[in-house]
Amino acid sequence: MKSRIRKREQDPDITRRSRLLLYVAFGAFALLLGRLYWLQVVESERYRNLAENNRLRLRTVRAPRGLILDRKGRAIAETQGSFDLVCSPVDVMDLEAEIGLLAEIVEFDVDNNEVLDKIRTAKRTNPFSGITVARDLRFEQVSVIEFNRENLPGFSVLVAAKRSYPYGTAFAHVLGYVGEASPQELDQSKDDSLAMGDLVGKYGLERLMDDDLRGVNGGRKVEVDAAGRDQRLVEEVPSRSGGAVHTSLDADLQVTAQDALGNRAGAVIALAPRTGEVLAFFSGPAFDPNVFARGIRKAEWQALNTDPRKPMQNKGLQGTYAPGSTIKPFLAMAALEEKMQEREKLVFCPGSYRLGNRVFRCWREKGHGAVDMYRAIVQSCDVYFYTLGLKLGPDRVAKLEKDAGLGTITGIDLPGERKGLVPDAEWKRTVSKERWYDYESVLLGIGQGAVHLTPLEVSVGYAALATGGEVMGPRVVSKVIAKDGKVRVHAPKMLRKLPWTPENVEFIRKALAGVVNDYGTGGAAKLPGIVVGGKTGTAQVASVKGKMIKSEDLPYEIRDHAWFVAFAPVDDPQIVVAAMVEHGGHGGSAAAPIVKAVMQEFFRTRPVGPPRKEGA
């Protein structure tokens, strides 16, 4: 044993070498110490932030969008729960593979590449945001996703709010629709109240009242693990839901209007004449705003935009049409107010009217014989109004019509309103550098020629006839209960009070009542127990030479537009209804039944009292 131990007192070099290695160790530890000092003392703040970014996610708690209600307090636009597939870009591991899997297991509605691009962009610009990939998943889809959760890091199913329109297509153009805020909308949003993925109104009341309807988003600060799963709620700021918008619309009336128009194209508008309240406002064909709420597909959008009957257009205030005979009461009114023609004056109608070498036909080939103003309105005699148009000339007619709201912006609280045209001599000079010709005055008498109006303008004009000269600004919103609880009432707004002579007003009303009740053209709108007054209109789209051809026999695109505008009860008008059917044929047969249906529904729940004596 002793022999095995080699004394090494004579080996000082081993000691020296050991010491050298210890110094190397010192050096290495000094280096580590320096590194730790750098990381933990100098750069500590930066790494602390990075750790917090790792750990904490700010999740937007979207505020529910406010309700839109009808006049009876029924929700016509509401917010419901929906299972949405949401992506947190930063937590996604293999985007292509995961999207592929998702497309396979939930049969994606959304275009795959679109989603891919969106997530890729967000991964660079806003990795901690949440991107909604698919909305309103079915229960089976949710369970399959949850089952595959381990393979889908960064994707999760969240309960989110969905905009829902219980009446479907009925309120399409009035309510409009919502969609995710576009990049421009995000940029323009004041005070940054819009978050990515928020829904904003894109059309209709949803757009017009967006500030009121949109709530204030809240936030949840949550701790997540490395796989992006929520572990713990750190802090929460609750969201505040949007305000409620009360409208004067009546859902029953609206549905009736939709049903009455059926699958024909056109517009049906019902107003309360004394307040300007819009009771119903339907444009057909319509779209289903629910489709927009769940995210419209490209093909659906294309179909809507290429449909020749323009479902995205609100025909009630964006479509302009020749008013046809519905214009006649305004000419009569102008003649009486200007004292240009007595009511009793008889005009002989042989079936046509000759001016120079032009012949203007009356719709009744064999003529009306001698007619006074009352008969001319009731029978809608064209020859009478040819002569009246010529007698009045364009400027007098235009003045009265514009005063009554025709050819003007009515200022309704719906976006996109267009203005029709009521021509006068001045207009003719400016537009075609030509003088006004007499034949144009003749056409003026029956609402043909340059004149074209929106159904809304016609409704407002008839409301003025119904009220005896009160031109009320039409409005849909009656009251807003704002986010902060404050109530804003939208009071009726009178645009003008026209100094019409009561006797003249009384006469026109009586004549319009005659149209419906005294063997006139509007008999189809007759209601039992209620005196309806209205006027038919059949507006020519194309002039057909030669023999009279029934409108029904013409090809659809050149068939006449059918009008019927009425109010009731005549001695105390509570409702004005205008129906315009594009290429519908005769007003009396195509449009009058629609008005009747709407009025019937209106009076079903509103008993009419004994007739009130006007001016009593």
Binding site: R17, S18, Q40
Partner: protein, 377 residues
């Protein structure tokens, strides 16, 4: 010869130092394995068993009679080589590498034991070739053979990290055993020249690790992820740390291998710069003590072996800490006594047992039993 008893010649500071590190490690395993709220008690108990086994191993080795270790060094070395071959043929594959042998419920890594075996066999060879003025190239070359065989076997697993440790041990022991300067310089130059060759033989994931080490931001969610998350853990600890069990990088699973190779990241996140300082001090003390024993031993084999063991610990500590701090590519080298793991714990404790055993010889020729004369003697 009748010197003081073995127990009287026991180097207690060495064991106490190691146990202090074990205690820190145990606390850290508890924190590192808890998953938000639920504590990882199971692994803590397992680690405690490993520590007790390790201490038993320490004393078992310490109590081996004088000279036996040196005599059996070559046999031990051959046995471990055999185990390495067995691992390659029948070992368990985990994470793309064949490193483990299943042993009941426990898996162990022969490459860990190989580190002690190589140290002892090399110490025996080099100390027998000692010559004042330095060992020459001819005598040194067979010594390289002791390292080359296990190096290749481990590199084949593939475990380049552990294989690299053998080279550090070889280099360190060559220095302690007084290999001639010119020979050392020659091999240092050859080592530098070998880097491109090594690159050629690396597997793709190993190259990726080196590349991402150079620039972790190349692939922040892929290969660079470990380095970035580890630096975030360490850096976010700040000066005083987030507090025990308050770290988020580990418990929320942002750190990979948070209780094994990246244990220090968990520790320094919770204990901050001050905690790191303490841990570094304990490690430095351990390494210092081992070099002190190497310098002070009366026995040439004991000196060279202790030097080798010191190099073994120093290499592990420095590489692991450097890796966690983002100063070294990610390699699977655990932090002695602190990382969770049985093979590492047993190896560490038995290596210290060897050092304690060999250091008994300090007293043999001193007669008076005076303590070692320190490193400057």
């Amino acid at each position: 010869m009748t010197g003081p008893s073995k127990w009287a010649r026991m180097d207690w500071p060495l064991l106490i130092n190691a146990l202090a590190l074990c205690a820190i490690g145990l606390l850290n395993v508890y924190s590192g394995t808890r998953v938000h709220g639920t504590p990882g008690t199971a692994l803590v108990v397992k680690q405690l068993v490993w520590i007790l086994l390790g201490v038993a191993g320490f004393f078992a080795v310490f109590l081996i009679s004088d000279g036996f270790i040196e005599e059996t060094a070559n046999g031990f070395f051959l046995a471990v080589l055999l185990l390495l071959v067995v691992v390659l043929l029948a070992g368990k594959v985990r994470g793309g590498a064949q490193r483990w042998i299943a042993f009941g419920a426990f898996n162990f890594q022969p490459s860990e034991f190989a580190k002690i075996a190589v140290t002892l066999a090399l110490a025996r060879y080099l100390s027998s070739k000692y010559r004042y003025g330095g060992i020459g190239l001819k005598e040194f070359l067979p010594g390289i053979g002791f390292v080359l065989a296990p190096f290749l076997l481990v590199a084949l697993q593939p475990d380049l990290g552990s294989a690299g440790v053998f080279l550090f041990i070889l280099a360190g022991m060559a220095v302690v055993a007084c290999v001639h300067w010119k020979v050392l310089a020659f091999f240092a130059a050859a080592g530098v020249g070998a880097v491109p060759v090594l690159w050629f033989f690396m597997k793709e994931y190993q190259r990726q690790r080196v590349l991402t080490f150079m620039n972790p931001e190349l692939d922040p969610l892929g290969a660079g992820y470990h380095v970035i998350q580890s630096k975030i853990a360490v850096g976010s600890g700040g000066i005083i740390g987030k507090g025990y069990l308050q770290g988020t990088q580990g418990s929320l699973r942002f750190l990979p291998e948070q209780h094994t190779d990246f244990a220090f990241a968990v520790f320094s996140e919770e204990w901050g710069f001050l905690g790191s300082l303490l841990l570094l001090a304990l490690f430095l003390l351990l390494v210092y003590r081992l070099f002190f024993l190497a310098a002070g031993s009366q026995d040439r084999f004991a000196s060279v072996a202790c030097g080798g063991i010191a190099v073994f610990f120093r290499t592990h500590m420095v590489i692991n800490l450097a890796m966690v701090c983002g100063l070294f590519p990610v390699v699977g080298i655990p932090l002695p006594f602190v990382s969770y793991g049985g093979s590492s714990m047993l190896t560490g404790m038995m290596a210290l047992g060897v050092a304690a055993n060999l250091s008994r010889s300090r007293f043999t020729f001193q007669g008076s039993g005076g303590r070692g004369r320190g490193i400057d003697s």
